[in-house]
Symmetry: C2
Subunit: 117 residues, 2 copies
């Protein structure tokens, strides 16, 4: 992330972002998730490795995702998939996000804030 503001924005939506990418279907591994997030966000969200991997561990500890190591030889990948709890959490947070965003939009509208050019 470029600046502090964006870093803090990310903080409020990081679980949401990663869970939603995993909801896109099938198992995915960390490095792939990083790439998909970057692409799906048009380059705006680019997770540092030091952010992503600890996050995946937290999500797994919380039972929201499940992992299995690649069976093949060579470069090992840790494949993640959503659990039922993860899917539920994703839905709930998506709703909360939408509500909160609407709330902020209203605050800005009340103040008649003009976006910068």
């Amino acid at each position: 992330m470029t600046n502090k503001f964006e870093r803090d924005l990310l903080r409020g939506s990081l679980d949401l972002v990663v869970l939603s990418v995993l909801a896109g279907g099938g198992k995915k591994y960390g490095y792939l998730i990083q790439k998909e997030v970057r692409e799906a966000s048009g380059g705006r969200v680019d997770l540092a490795a030091g952010t992503l991997y600890p996050l995946l561990h937290r999500l797994e500890d919380d039972g929201l995702i499940r992992s299995s190591w690649d069976a093949g030889t060579g470069r090992e990948r840790k494949w993640y998939e959503l659990t039922a709890a993860g899917r539920k959490r994703l839905s709930a947070q998506a709703q909360e996000w939408a509500d909160y965003a609407a709330c902020i939009r209203q605050l800005l509208a009340i103040a008649k804030v003009q976006p910068a050019s």
Copy 2:
């Protein structure tokens, strides 16, 4: 804030929220800002005193707001108002917020996330 998710959401929009309330016109003091944020957000955003006052100090240190103590006797109030830099920052962050929100909405759309009932 009720839970961790909302606390982290707040973190990404706190400056925005406070600056936008101050953009609403005239000088305002901390306790009033707290009330107006609570009301304008439908009770969703309720700033703790331990959040609000340090924040106001930071914003002032950054030159985004300016303060003056109440001249009258009795209960003292510290009145804040936006500076030109503050108004500029507000516009910029409002734009960034809108862009980021659009980005998240797209991510959720791609993943076909259904919001919780």
